[in-house]
């Protein structure tokens, strides 16, 4: 049997094995008579593997492993130590203060295919349900039928939509939308932008332009910039967050598609490396499937044996 075949066979049950192995190692490491001894190299490696396979990334993994190693284990289980450490990574991120300006303008950004339009739809619905009267703006004038897609969501959520023709200048649509929002007393204003790879300089400067134009239409706008990240993303998510933050001033992350088997471990990496808070998570295709992020729930899910 060739090297690749063996590898393939070995990996077919990887996830299962990782969790089982981790469970086993936790059991052994946490046996009462070993509680105060040093954590052995096998445990460390299993932990590294677990975290890396969840896309937590090398630097954050190193921090967690080092911390777990260093911490005196007086009576505390390994599992709790790891959870605590990840939680503390999330907790070290300062929440962004919410400006009180009205209307509140929210810009939704991200690379292609992460679920920006869907997120805007769900967010509009949630805001409407909470008694607010949002307006959505379709500023994705590039992707074929993106405006139509948002129109469907706007109808489902019973909110107004400001749209422009495909191919027109997105910044001008944003300006119009804010004017319309002010005139009709709509608040907040959610702006869906075209997906763009963070490496495309032209498209990124278009985002900068949208920001500038928004600021002209309403003071301090955009008040919030949400970066939509696909939970299946790997370490590139970190680069995305870094680039979008530097160009568009991201104030929070929306982690979508968490209903799959991906755990979005890159969120830990982002909290660790960039200190950007996670605001919402998308957990399904329904209009109600967007919920506020809870670090505690997330960490619990990360260590559920079912993944």
């Amino acid at each position: 049997m060739g090297f690749l075949d063996r590898l393939r066979e070995g990996l077919s049950r990887t996830k299962q094995q990782i969790v089982e192995r981790f469970e086993q190692i936790v059991r052994e490491a946490d046996a009462p008579e070993r509680r105060t001894t040093e954590i052995n190299p096998d445990t460390v490696e299993a932990l590294e593997e677990l975290l890396l396979s969840a896309d937590v990334g090398v630097p954050a993994t190193e921090r967690i492993v080092t911390a777990v190693r260093a911490r005196a284990r007086a009576g505390q289980g390994l599992r709790d130590l790891v959870k605590q450490e990840i939680l503390s990574i999330f907790e070290s991120v300062e929440p962004v203060p919410q400006p009180t300006a009205r209307p509140h303008v929210v810009l939704i950004v991200g690379v292609n295919g992460t679920g920006k339009t869907t997120t805007v739809g769900k967010l509009a619905n949630a805001l409407k349900a909470s008694g607010k009267d949002p307006l959505v703006c379709a500023a994705d004038t590039f992707r074929a039928a993106a405006v139509e897609q948002l129109a469907v969501w706007a109808e489902r959520a019973h909110v107004d939509l400001v749209r422009a023709k495909e191919g027109s200048d997105p910044a001008s649509v944003v300006f119009d939308a804010i004017q319309v929002g002010k005139a009709r007393g709509r608040d907040p204003i959610l702006i869906d932008t075209a997906g763009r790879l963070h490496t495309r300089v032209n498209l990124m400067s278009e985002l900068d332009k949208i920001r500038r134009v928004a600021a002209r239409a309403a003071e301090g706008a955009p008040h919030e910039v949400l970066l939509v990240l696909d939970a299946t993303v790997g370490q590139n998510g970190l680069t995305q967050a870094r680039e979008f933050t530097s160009v568009a001033g991201v104030t929070g992350i929306v982690l979508t598609k968490l209903d799959g088997t991906a755990k979005g471990g890159v969120a830990v990496a982002i909290a660790h490396d960039l200190k950007v808070p996670i605001r919402y998570v998308g957990v399904g295709e329904g209009i109600d499937d967007l919920i506020p992020f809870s670090a505690r729930d997330y960490v619990d899910a990360l260590f559920q044996a079912s993944w």
Binding site: F3, L4, L7, R8, G10, L11, S12, T14, K15, E48, E49, L52, S53, A54, D55, G57, V58, V111, N112, G113, T114, G115, R143, A144, A145, A146, E148, Q149, A151, V152, W153, L197, H198, T199, R200, D230, A231, T232, V233, G234, Q235, N236, G237, T239, Q240, K257, D259, G260, T261, A262, K263, G265, V266, E285
Partner: protein, 469 residues
């Protein structure tokens, strides 16, 4: 694509290059770097460990260490093992298929299936095929419309029946293709999670109805470790014949996709490398590995050039060059041809020795500058473009005004154009270009080479006109 990844690997291997004699310590240090690079590129932990072990075993061999060029030997080992990871198979569609061939695109939400459908249609058209596309995505709002728009843009027929039953839509398209003589049917499907039983059953039903030859799993190059799980599940339940790796024009390292190839055992068929409909390429593992290791990818470059260059135009141009009739009009056409080849950065990345993006980033050709040159030429009269010698001082002023540039810009362009003409004339007369311009290295000219005069030139030629920022 894969740039930062390749920089790290190249760096690690370069550190070996200075050593006269390699010790196991040197190799260990390089391997540590490569391991980190692979992990940060989202290559699966197990795949990385196995890869590093293999390289170590082979590189630590006494024969390698004692050879005259140990660093090259180690590079070769890394190259061989990377190739093994990428899978030896060449990309593309399956060799044999009944007519009409049915291609089914499947994958998670947002991986780029609909866009890939359009690009694949365009690619097939270029191969002389007649594809028919159909969307079976009745779930995502406006998905059907998106494919219709892409069809219009790519000039490909889209079958759009009334029925909103995915299976019936796919089957209808196949019947339509048979009746109307289309030789390929591209079936776009709704994005779905591999754990969604209902939707996976629907996919199975579509598959049963149209019996596709090619089942292409569309994967986002930016995916992390979950890729193995989802691709594996699609393969287990539906069967996958190839992977289409999308969004490779970003800085994604595509390591997870690499894991998919080695773990799930499905080859990469195509890669999507840009937002234009033309931006879909066959996957060539050897070329990708060469690029990873900084050996350039001349073959892809030539293919891109061939795609962008009209053969007749090239011959006509060659004729004019011989007669020393190269005009500003021709020059502008060359610029347009270059543009058709895609973003300059991606073109440059294929040139051996230029693959290292760190240097490129500081020395980027300014595409704006290219636009300015075009504007200057476009502001000339037809007569001026035919014969640049009539352009006097007042004409220069007018041209500068018309193109929103300065007289200096116009002067610079004309001066460089004259210089270029001189060089081209010598090439046209059969002189070695190296003799024509000092210090200029001339690569082997691709077919229709005159259409891209001296791509590696530092001074003179169109590249000299493009300021680097």
């Amino acid at each position: 694509m894969f740039e930062s990844f390749s920089t790290r690997i190249q760096g690690a291997l370069q550190s070996l290059r200075g050593e006269v004699r390699l010790t196991p310590d040197h190799i260990e240090a390089a391997l540590r770097e490569i391991r980190l690079a692979l992990l940060e590129a989202d290559v699966n932990f197990k795949v990385v460990s196995a890869f590093i072990d293999r390289v170590r075993d082979r590189a630590m061999d006494q024969a390698v260490l004692k050879s005259l060029s140990p660093a090259q030997q180690v590079t070769k080992v890394v190259r061989d093992e990377l190739l093994a990871l990428f899978g030896d198979a060449e990309g593309g569609l399956r060799k044999d298929a009944p007519t009409p061939r049915v291609i089914l695109l499947l994958g998670l939400q947002g991986s780029g299936k609909t866009t890939t459908s359009g690009k694949l249609g365009k690619w097939l058209t270029r191969q002389g095929r007649h594809p028919l596309m159909v969307s079976t995505d009745v779930r995502r709002p406006a998905a059907i419309e998106q494919l219709a728009v892409l069809g219009t843009k790519a000039d490909i027929r889209v079958y759009s029946p009334e029925t909103m039953d995915p299976v019936a839509r796919a089957a209808g398209a196949l019947a339509e293709a048979k009746a109307k003589g289309f030789d390929t049917v591209i079936v776009d499907t709704a994005g779905r999670l591999h754990i969604d039983d209902d939707l996976m059953n629907e996919l199975q039903a579509i598959k049963d109805a149209v019996r596709p030859t090619d089942l292409l799993y569309v994967a986002d190059a930016m995916t992390g470790n979950d890729a193995i799980k989802s691709a594996g599940e699609f393969n287990r339940r539906i069967g996958v014949t190839g992977v289409v790796l999308t969004k490779l024009d970003g800085d994604a390292r595509g390591g997870a996709a690499l894991s998919v190839v080695s773990v799930v055992g499905v080859p990469i068929a195509f890669v999507g490398s840009g937002e234009r409909l033309e931006d879909l390429e066959l996957f060539h593992p050897d070329r990708i590995v060469s690029r990873l290791l900084g050996m350039g990818d001349v073959l892809s470059l030539i293919e891109k050039a061939e795609q962008a260059i009209d053969q007749n135009d090239a011959e006509e141009l060659e004729e004019r060059l011989r007669k020393n009739q190269f005009t500003l009009d021709d020059f502008r056409n060359q610029l347009k041809t270059l543009k058709r080849m895609g973003p300059l950065e991606s073109v440059l990345g294929m040139i051996p020795g230029l693959g290292n993006m760190k240097q490129l980033a500081e020395n980027k050709p300014d595409e704006k500058q290219m636009g300015r040159i075009e504007a200057i030429i476009s502001s000339m009269t037809a007569g001026e473009r035919r014969d640049h010698t009539v352009i006097n001082g007042s004409r220069r002023k007018r041209i500068a005004k018309g193109s929103g540039t300065t007289v200096e810009d116009v002067n610079r362009l004309l001066k460089q154009f004259t210089e270029m003409r001189r060089v081209l004339q010598m090439i046209g007369q059969g002189a070695r270009p190296a003799a024509a311009v000092k210090g200029m290295r001339q690569p082997a000219m691709p077919q229709g080479g005159f259409a891209m005069p001296g791509k590696k030139r530092k001074k003179g030629g169109p590249w000299g006109l493009i300021k680097t920022r």
